[in-house]
Point group: C2
Chain length 324, copies 2
């Protein structure tokens, strides 16, 4: 019997569902709309139906499958309680006991677990990706926000209340940019994709850079992919955005190193597709902020998870981790 796991990634718009084998390959996948379900019970019913449909379809491909469990990644996911708690970007408000609700539909699953999306990515990296065999590492996910997952001695760090690993909300610049969470100067306000856009606008404003390739884009239009494309063409503003983002990110990663002394920090997400543009200044900045006992020791690595499937794959990895 081939063993497989189901991964569910709950986002503000879509919930993606996939059946994943033990090498991290997505065998079949589907998705349902998240926000159209104001009612959590209706959402759980639809999610359960979609999962069952997917199990049926994958068994048509291969009858000899054992479905081990369901792993869920969700914003503000709490592993201890199996809950989603006060997630600002989801249509479900308050505390949602999702694992308990799903147990009703899947009483026979060996594992049914939930954590936040960045923790799921970290577990995915550990089970299927570049962190195989690593006992101490940290994952940063750079996207609309900045998430993170911390692994110590081979286990996820959930902390006292299940919410550890919010490294995107460390303070880089006291009194600095407004962060989405309401506080000021957090890393997420500088090193997320929207943070890079804000940096581009700051630089254009400072230099009156009407000749930049980014100068014809509105604040709503500009995204990190456009900044990368402009950097590739040698655009000064775009190149400085990467330099400056790396400086900030390196400072934040140094804080992580001083807390945890990891073997490696993995970077995942859109901005990391820029390769050396972002990795080089990040590494240089990291080293400049470190105690001598840490210099030239910490690897900064690109995630080995495939961008499109990473969220599902990460969520499914929770199942293997549970069963282990």
């Amino acid at each position: 019997m081939k063993k497989v796991a189901i991964g569910v990634d709950i986002g503000g718009t879509n919930t993606a569902i996939g059946v994943v084998d033990n090498e991290g390959n997505v065998m079949v996948k589907d998705n349902i709309s998240t926000p159209s379900h104001g009612d959590i019970k209706k959402y759980v019913a639809d999610l359960s139906a979609a999962i069952k449909e997917l199990i049926k379809s994958v068994k048509l491909l291969n009858e000899d499958l054992e479905i081990l469990g369901i792993g869920i990644g969700a914003p503000n996911g709490n592993y201890y309680n199996g809950t989603i708690e006060y997630a600002p970007n989801l249509s479900f408000k308050g505390v949602i006991h999702l694992v308990d609700l799903l147990k009703g539909s899947f009483p026979d699953m060996q594992a049914l677990a939930l954590t936040n999306d960045a923790n799921a990515a970290a577990i995915g990296e550990m089970i299927y990706g570049g962190a195989k065999g690593m006992k101490n590492f940290v994952m940063y996910t750079l996207g609309t926000g900045v998430g993170s997952g911390v692994v110590v001695d081979g286990n996820m760090v959930y902390g006292h209340d299940g919410f550890a690993g919010e490294c995107g909300h460390t303070t880089l610049i006291p009194g600095g940019r407004l962060c989405g969470c309401g506080a000021k100067g957090h890393l997420e306000a500088y090193c997320s994709a929207p943070g890079m856009k804000r940096t581009a606008f700051e630089i254009m404003a400072r230099d009156n850079a009407g000749d930049s390739l980014l100068a014809d884009k509105s604040f709503q239009e500009l995204d990190s992919k456009m900044i990368f494309d402009a950097a590739e063409k040698g655009d000064k503003v775009a190149l400085e955005v990467f330099e400056q983002t790396g400086k900030w990110l390196g400072q934040g990663l140094a804080d992580t190193v001083h807390h945890l002394s990891p073997e490696a920090i993995f970077l995942f997400g859109g901005p990391t597709a820029a390769g050396d543009y972002i990795f080089k200044p990040t590494k240089e900045s990291l080293e400049s902020h470190l105690l001598p006992i840490f210099t030239d020791k910490i690897k900064i690595l690109p995630s080995q998870l495939k961008p499109g499937d990473a969220a599902i794959v990460g969520a499914s990895a929770l199942v293997w981790k549970e069963i282990e």
Copy 2:
């Protein structure tokens, strides 16, 4: 048989040694000079002799004692290797294999372990102090430097190389004050006892505060106790030093919370004797830097270890932790 442990605290000037019972009481203690021993072999011989002498004297008080082991706290102490590595303030240079060297003198001890002084304090807090029963907490030791120890799921976090928990070297102010380690803007440069002195001098310079109670002290003379005494008398400069130190410390503690989501953060050391002068602004600043999911959740507590004996007691706690 009453079980006891030996604690050894290695400082730049003195090495303190004590026999500690299972409630954290120091039964007998002694100390030898650290730096007079340029030669590590001579130091180990003297340290071994002093420990044996102490064991003899405590057995005169109570014949029915079992000595379980020796725990050592030392700057740049590496738990994994039992080494002291490149400690800038010790007369021993390079990598010192202290645990291996001591094993020769104490082959029958059940436990012989070494870690850095702040980790030892954290273990002390866990075994004897205010962190009894806590699974996730962090200890900050504020003194000449700022050390820290991180506990996750009931275990010390040593990280990949044994050096985790250097939270005093997170960056508070990019490009800010020169830190003892050579980098800029680290927490230690602001929140250590010398950091508070630097803050006092900055404020006096800014306000031309010739009437401050601190204005007759030289840079070499001024210490954190004098700042506390002046604050007690209502001195404006001194009061602002505490306000500002708390603001910075709270910012740093928020970074720790975002990484680890601990139940509590304990503060230990001279500056914490100032009580509310330092705890109140620290808590306020902490809350202002936190994600909403963490607000009003994290306890900031004074260490329950007795200041005079804490280093020995913390080091001895390593033995109980090893045997557990």
